[in-house]
Symmetry: C2
Subunit: 155 residues, 2 copies
Amino acid sequence: MPNLQDEIGKKQPFDLAEEEAYLNVRRTAATLESYFGRLFRKAGLSEATYNVLRILRAAGEDGRCWGEIRQDLVVPVPDVTRLIDRLEKSGHCERQRSVTDRRKVYIRITKKGLDVVNGLDEPVRNGLQGRLGHMAEADLRKLSALLERTRDQDN
Amino acid sequence: MPNLQDEIGKKQPFDLAEEEAYLNVRRTAATLESYFGRLFRKAGLSEATYNVLRILRAAGEDGRCWGEIRQDLVVPVPDVTRLIDRLEKSGHCERQRSVTDRRKVYIRITKKGLDVVNGLDEPVRNGLQGRLGHMAEADLRKLSALLERTRDQDN
DNA sequence: TCTATATACTTGTTTACACAGATGCCTAAC
DNA sequence: GTTAGGCATCTGTGTAAACAAGTATATAGA
């Protein structure tokens, strides 16, 4: 039963519910990121590159262009170009300039990239269930709903 | 009403409640991090250095040593040494080797550092209320409780 | 058609992160 | 008092993030 107040050795309870929520979000994210980051690294990926490969897998043969990938990313990344540079260099994806609009570059996943993401499906699913599966589905949905409300005030 | 499924252009709804929760946590954290990161950068700090300064402010005159700071950080940072190097270089804190145990290094906040953190109290509070204040306190506490449960299965 | 502006992406550069291994100091057993 | 082992912190090195500025292509108005 890790309570944040104890975890970080805080003396007084949180006065502001907003602050408590903020810190809990950040800490939980860091915990999950650390776990899945290790998992991805074993496969030679970072969380960001893994997510790009998932986007490319979903896009299929058509591929997806720079700006779309940038939009799709759950956690925004400022430097998508070099992230794709790395994936291309390691053979997980390939670039192809659009013929209709030569500014655009379409990116497709390769066989190698597909194999890597597919191979991660089961570990990821197991990881999710191992770390979050102890909670009832209703509580998880409730959590998601509250987090979405947290983002209502965007900018 | 930003729904994650729409935000990232996902076609099908999430099959796994765990995955939905995971992605929501990550995205919400990134959103908050981005907002407060900008706020801290205006004052010449990163989120990590700001948090260290808060820890040092709470420690007062006694200061706090490397390992304690590392423990206290809400979001773990592997390289606390150079983080403190930077804070020392910019004059926000100072090191002092312990006399009783010369392995330990106590770090104290300086006047300059104190001024910077104090000056951020109000903007941070405003930011928290601006971004999360639209939610009822009960919902925020509920959110915190659910997030803490998320971390029950640790490691 | 020529130019201005917007769009899509790339490159440069500085700074920070991440991991492994090294150093210096303390504690306690022999 | 000497040595073994552990602890607290630092350093080296490669990789990635962050921010700003640049290039090439397209679009739209005079």
